[in-house]
Amino acid sequence: MIDLLIEYFPMILNGLLRTVQFTFFGVLVGLALGILLAIGDLYGGRITSTIIKFYVEFFRGSPLVVQLFIFYYSIPNMFNILIDYFTVGFIVFALNSAAYQKGYIKGAMESVYEDQMTAALSIGLSKAQAIRYVVLPQALRIVIPAWSNEFCSLAKSTAALLYIGVPELTSALYSIGSWTWRYLESFALGAFIYLLWITAVMKGLDMLYNKVKIPGIEITV
């Protein structure tokens, strides 16, 4: 197994970097979009909220692979254009993750009770300022545990990029397996690499959570 790692190291490393890239991009852009969607859903009125609901249900209710296919084959076909698989991957991961993260963030914002908003208004803050300085800072702290779940799941979903030909980690392992006929070892090695880097990130998020948590308040999720 070690000899596989040594022999194909550049390829495996490249694949891993791609995987890491897609995960981080998806989670971070998804976070930014998720915050906007959550605010829109909570404070944007009925029409905005309905549009957001359709968006979220589409991305939560269909398989990731189908979403990749739609953006890679169907949409370019419709408009007679070509989109490369990297762009497609980034777009789909960000949109998909945003749909999930919106739910977590909205829940956390709702759990920051109405009274925090009232207190913020009482000192003359506008609603937007109250969200910015009072509701979001608390909600984002609360959301970290749920958020690490999202990270974990998205990190593994990147394997689906194999279907549109992105040379990420799983596709590298697949190639190595088929060249050497040592599938068992190559996938076992792959599982170990996934495990390693995901655990490292989880540990990091744990540390972040402990660092930013509000003194005197334990959040249990």
């Binding site: 009274d115 207190a119 208004l121 009482s122 000192i123 003359g124 800072p137 005197g216």
Partner: protein
């Protein structure tokens, strides 16, 4: 200074505030008391424009706040509010709680906002606790920070909605002391409270409130000796009995 005329607040079929007119002049300390659920808090929130009245007008220094197009954020910045359940911002320490208003709502420079916040914390004798978070403070200390948060805005009037009723009896004393200090400085206040000895000491006028409206108003002496309405008489008797027990 702060005035409401023919104020109504109706939630569905429930009439919380029924045709109330009230004026608080500069330097006044008015005290509202009455049974729970009688609409005192709703009235207080309408006066602070934290709730929009259904009917009637609210005036702050002659400026009507209930007509459309008024910048309510600016108006709220001029009226301090202290909540029954305190409602400090959980994620900020005492100083951060007090500083936020001057910094973001009034837009003061960082240094100036901090000075104001420190000054306000000194006024409630909480300067030593500036770095503590709400969850690390006792209820009484939290409420003093809540008062400092209102004070730091240099409000023209402070409305206090039962500032001690959520606290243990042994913690109400320190909050009452703080309010007594404010009274001595001539702070204009509208206080909802059932702390009768304190009321007798500081209030210029007491207002007995029940079923959404003012039943009787007058000097503390009058309420303590011969309230004219039967309801006020009975309520006072109960309160005085309770106070003696404590």
């Amino acid at each position: 200074m702060l005035e409401c005329r023919n104020l109504w607040k109706i939630y569905g079929k429930i009439v919380a505030v029924k045709d109330v007119s009230l004026e608080i002049r500069e330097g006044d300390i008015k005290l509202i008391f009455g049974p729970s659920g009688s609409g005192k808090s709703t009235l207080a929130r309408c006066l602070a424009m934290l709730t929009t009245p259904t009917k009637g007008d609210v005036f702050l220094k002659g400026e009507c706040l209930t007509k459309p197009g008024v910048d309510l954020n600016k108006a709220r910045a001029r009226v301090g509010f202290v909540f029954q359940h305190i409602w400090l911002f959980h994620h900020l320490n005492a100083l951060g709680n007090v500083e936020l208003g001057p910094r973001r709502s009034l837009g003061l420079p960082k240094k100036e906002a901090r000075e104001r916040a420190n000054q306000a914390l000194r006024e409630v004798r909480m300067e030593e606790w500036a770095k503590h978070y709400p969850a690390q403070l006792s209820g009484g200390q939290q409420q003093r920070v809540g008062i400092a948060r209102a004070l730091a805005m240099h409000p023209e009037i402070i409305i206090l909605d039962e500032p001690t009723s959520a606290l243990d009896p042994e913690l109400t004393g320190e909050v009452i002391d703080t309010l007594r200090d404010l009274a001595k400085k001539g702070t204009t206040m509208l206080i909802i409270s059932h702390e009768m000895p304190f009321a007798r000491e500081v209030a210029d006028e007491m207002i007995f409130f029940d079923e959404g409206t003012i039943i009787e108003r007058g000097s503390p002496e009058r309420f303590f000796t011969k309230p004219s309405s039967e309801r006020a008489r009975r309520f006072m008797a109960r309160l005085i009995k309770r106070t003696r027990r404590e």
